[in-house]
Symmetry: C2
């Protein structure tokens, strides 16, 4: 069984506090780890949550504010002490490439693995792809250039019906095509429709990470049809104007994005430190969208 | 009453772990805070230990390994969010000035206070001084240029004996001189010795921070006569050769430095992550020097 799990390492905003770490999530996709944002303390959280450093291959940084990237130098150094080998790619907005190249050059001179920095195209697009998953970026609307990310499982194959394969005596050479949706054509020319010999494929699951952003319907457009959406919810209704001024969203606005995008579930986070608990934020998001999960450090959300 | 307190924010080595933060201490001297080293997570520890960010005026970085400085970008940014004003000086080896200037330039553009970087002279010397305290640096012997720091209270004034001041009818104008050690000369020319009219000044207290270093008798020489010495004690006796290769000391060697320097007490830290508790390190250091304190996160040591 495949596995697609969201791990919340940090869901506070601006600075680490006694309650929350700054932004960091790890997407565990079939035992490979993709990190999204890397606030200070990310490496300690990874260790606490028992995630293997060696499985981390890509880090995606949404924007160059410290609460989304100050954990990087420590994490990259620690990976070397754990004798990571191979390659790790850090995807980040062009603005940060120069300063992080300098940091890596200075502090990771004796690195045991290759660190690559890949600048994000501000227009967005596919930034990683293999046989099973695609990662896309898309623009968000914050005070500095900021990108969101969508993790999409690739479409899965249909399930063969064993009884039908046997009944029609379908040759092995044709099975893969049938799983992809082809009909079966018998040697005598009779067409057996695919629907008779297969059952539906499992649903391909997808996850969108909407980091710091104003409420903007273009975000809903970008994540349309995604199964689970994380959207920042820094403030409650009373702070609507402050949210706008600072390039952030309210919880209600996060709910509206999930509704407009037709999501199945919404995860909220990036809480302002003014909130002792996220209760008011969950309540207001829920008035727009039914299925709201409050992020919290240590939370694991299984999408599959 | 004056106050001179050592606060341990982190005493692990190499990487933050579930047990220890990387190196960081704060010297609280009459409510002004001096930070020594700034490993990742320093700002969270400061908050946990309820130390006021606004009181921090100087940060001293011993050397440019990540476990001694990766907390700086986050701390410097957070100070701005707390609307710190005035000035903060970061003292660090010349090697780090360029990369940290870039980091500060990039991430602290909108800083509410002035951040100065002051390069440390590798030969050592006085790097800060005011009416009450002096901070000196001195060379250590690690894999990269590394400096230790000594915090010295300035010599204090002798205490006047109220009864004698009255008895000899000493004019107010002469009291300060007498507190500094002058004799009192009566109008008739009779000399009253200082020892009759004063009692001894309180002892000026001093603290030396010996960050990552090989065992070297020049360190004992540099901290000779200091009241309390912190000395790294990364390893136990069985790791003597590894300590040497990696530019570190064993706990026994830390004890020997304290003994050679004639200290009153020794604080050990920078424990390798191989030690679940520092017991073996305390034991071995104690075989060289009687008064050993094991550093631990949250520990406060009152020197006055």
């Amino acid at each position: 069984m495949s596995r697609f799990q969201i791990n919340i390492l940090g869901c506070g905003s601006a600075t680490p506090t006694a309650r929350h770490n700054p932004s960091c999530q790890v997407i565990d996709f079939r035992d490979r780890l993709f990190m999204v944002d890397c606030g200070e303390g990310a490496q300690v959280q990874m260790r606490k949550m028992k995630m293997k450093f060696s499985r981390l291959g890509h880090i995606f940084i949404s924007h160059m504010h410290g609460d989304h990237c100050f954990g990087l130098p420590g994490l990259l150094s620690t990976l070397s002490l754990h004798e990571k080998t191979g390659e790790l790619t850090v995807h980040m907005p062009q603005e940060g490439v120069d300063v992080f190249s300098r940091i890596i050059e200075f502090f990771c001179r004796e690195s045991t693995y290759d660190i690559k920095i890949s600048p994000l195209d501000p227009k967005g697009g596919v930034i990683f792809e293999d046989h099973a998953i695609t990662v896309e970026s898309f623009p968000l609307y914050h005070r500095v250039p900021c990108m969101g990310f969508i993790f999409r499982e690739k479409p899965k194959l249909r399930h063969l019906r064993g009884d039908m394969v046997k009944y029609f005596n379908i040759p092995v050479s044709q099975l893969h095509g049938i799983k992809e949706g082809n009909d079966f054509v018998k040697p005598d020319g009779t067409v057996i429709e695919n629907a008779r010999i297969t059952t539906d494929a499992d649903k391909a699951v997808s996850y969108a990470y909407c980091s710091d952003t104003l409420f903007d319907e273009r975000v809903a457009e970008a994540v349309k049809g995604v199964d689970t959406i994380y959207h920042e919810a820094t403030y409650d209704d009373d702070m609507l104007e402050q949210a706008r001024q600072r390039g952030h969203s309210t919880a209600r606005q996060a709910g509206a994005i999930a509704r407009l995008a037709g999501a199945r579930q919404l995860v909220i986070g990036h809480y302002s430190k003014r909130y002792i608990t996220p209760d008011i934020l969950v309540k207001q998001a829920s008035e727009e969208f039914a299925n709201v999960i409050a992020a919290n450090e240590g939370l694991k959300i299984d999408l599959l």
